[in-house]
């Protein structure tokens, strides 16, 4: 059961791992995830990618597999339905309840309202897409829908996280590793501005169908919705053209105007996160392979256990950082907003 904020300090940090399919779910459980989060095969979740996610059968198998080993499954229903598709979200909430999942992670008010009225025993977490960056917003969702946990957007510094936590009526989950949104989640329309599809409306950011790779005399070019996102010199490693991670011109400068291609990695912050009473650490990456899930889960399990055993002596092992570095975007990592100077 989710725990109240008053008792989280004494509980071990929960490791919440991504599962884009059944093999990922199993490997996450096998390598030490306390919980996994999944999505259904449609736009009700923020990783609505071709070939990804769970149908009724694989979801049931996944829940059974996790529960047999005493672990938990959360279902992300964290996009914002428009009137024409609302029944899809309604059905997804019902389906999650029927599956006996341990929580639904939602963002839209109508979805939270429906879930809390229709399935009062179904625990609700406020998704990062809910954009709750302050405790007044968290209180709102707690008072109105009885959420038991909030996932914080990746925009707060560590002291700000601590302040939110001290005033939050519910347990707090933060992102520990993976792809890094530089914008407040749930409040970024860049993708739909260029491609017509956004995380909020369609569960995708910079969708693959809008991407074009082109070898040109000037180098390899990546485009999104026709817009030049980046151009790579021969031998330069090329990345996926996520809109906010391109090289653009402002004034006379050409640079990563918004953000470099990089991943969030907070391994070194673990003692602080544990000390302040964070309930859970979330690993990003439902769109990634089972190999990624295995690697990242193994490292984070080891790190959380080491930190719990002896926080004072804890330091990230070089081999952990090496392993995580291999699966990081652009092979580099950052502390992101947790570290004020990044902002």
């Amino acid at each position: 059961m989710p725990v109240s904020s008053s008792s989280v300090a004494s509980k071990p940090l929960e490791l919440v791992c991504p599962a884009g399919n059944l093999p990922s779910l199993k490997t996450a459980i096998d390598h030490g995830a306390d919980s996994v989060y999944i999505g259904f095969r449609d736009d009700t979740n923020a990783r609505h990618f071709p070939g990804l996610n769970f149908d009724a059968k694989t979801a049931a198998q996944g829940v059974q597999y996790a529960h047999a080993k005493g672990r938990r499954v959360f279902v992300a229903l964290n996009t914002f339905p428009q009137p024409s598709g609302w029944e899809r979200w309604q059905r997804a909430v019902d389906q999650a309840a029927e599956l006996g999942v341990d929580a639904v992670i939602a963002a839209d008010i109508s979805v939270l309202d429906y879930a809390c009225r229709q399935h009062p025993n179904l625990p609700l977490h406020l998704s990062v897409q809910g954009s709750a960056t302050n405790y007044e917003a968290i209180r709102f969702y707690h008072e109105q829908f009885g959420i038991r946990r909030v996932v914080l957007p990746r925009v707060l510094s560590l002291p700000q996280v601590r302040h939110v936590l001290e005033n939050s009526p519910v347990a707090v989950e933060v992102f520990g590793f993976g792809g890094l949104c530089i914008m407040v989640e749930g409040r970024c329309l860049l993708s739909s501005y260029v491609t017509g599809e956004s995380p909020n409306m369609c569960g995708v950011c910079s969708p693959a169908k809008a991407v074009r790779w082109e070898e040109t005399p000037r180098g390899l070019e990546t485009r999104l919705g026709g817009l030049l996102i980046d151009r790579y010199a021969p031998g330069e490693p090329a990345g996926y053209p996520t809109l906010c991670k391109g090289r653009f011109m402002v004034g006379e400068q050409t640079y990563y105007a918004i953000e470099e291609p990089t991943s969030l990695n907070t391994l070194e912050l673990l003692p602080e996160l544990q000390d302040m009473g964070i309930a859970a650490i979330k690993i990003e990456g439902r769109q990634r392979s089972p190999a990624y899930v295995t690697q990242v889960t193994k490292v984070w399990r080891a790190a959380i256990d080491a930190c719990r055993r002896n926080p004072a002596a804890y330091a990230p092992k070089p081999e952990w950082l090496r392993e995580l570095g291999k699966v990081s975007e652009g092979q580099q990592t950052t502390l992101g907003a947790y570290h004020r100077t990044w902002q």
């Binding site: 009137p83 925009v155 860049l190 501005y193 260029v194 491609t195 409306m201 090289r247 653009f248 004034g251």
Partner: protein
Amino acid sequence: MSAATMTEYQPKLALGPVLYYWSKDTLLDFYERISAAPVDIVYLGETVCSKRRAFNTDEWLELAERLNAAGKEVVLSTMALLEAESELKTLRRLCENGRFTVEANDMGAVRLLAERKTPFVLGTGINLYNDQTLRFLAGLGAKRWVMPVELSRVTLASIQAGRLEGVETEVFAYGRLPLAYSARCFTARYHDLPKDDCQYRCLNDPAGLTVSTREGQAFLTLNGIQTQSAQTCNLLPELAKFRELKVDALRISPQAEGTETVIEAFAACLRGERDAVAAARALNAALPYGACDGYWQGQPGLKQTTEVGGV
């Protein structure tokens, strides 16, 4: 023609909050002119960055009184990204002002306003994508909502189909679209300054900083922690559609130059004195990076779907 328009649904004109960092004198001059301009509703306040302090809260309230005395309905807008306790403190003061309606741009503000049982406006910062959400928030005291800018006229039509008594609908009809908020200050990053020592460089860019691809295609505007479109959304040609959908207010977002011209154009079209398409074409011709109406038409936001696009 003007006789016919008298019986048609007549949206009000609203002036959104100034999204850029303008100096105190610039703001005072601007609102002095606005007090005489044909807008019905004026949204006031800092919504982007709490470090911008051209006006303190008392000064915003004084300005609100002056504009109110000039016959404007004044709404106090609040921040979209609330992180620090000091920001919550300002938010509480605004929510408790007891005189003017407040526009919530974060659910924290919604909570405080609902608690006080005082009617409020839901700004573009609130994710309101369907009629159930609107009904829920109306139950807490929302009296007007501004449609999220990425929604289309088709979605608006279905939300409007279940229009609620006493809840007005406002559409962002003119201006650079607010697209994203971040912890990072992109203006400081451009100037290679840390956010905590930004030296208020936003003051030098009253219209923000333009972001272009390496092919020179402008598409975004950096405005501190906010990212906007480079193209200007101009939905003036959609006036008939707004009337048909019973849209109650059209928002014009203040720009560094020409805002009164835009207001005049909208007002003249609403009075039936000018043709909306011709007026839109004239406005768009002056835009440095062209116009866009893609979101409204259910397409990528930066698209301009009709031939009034200017550049």
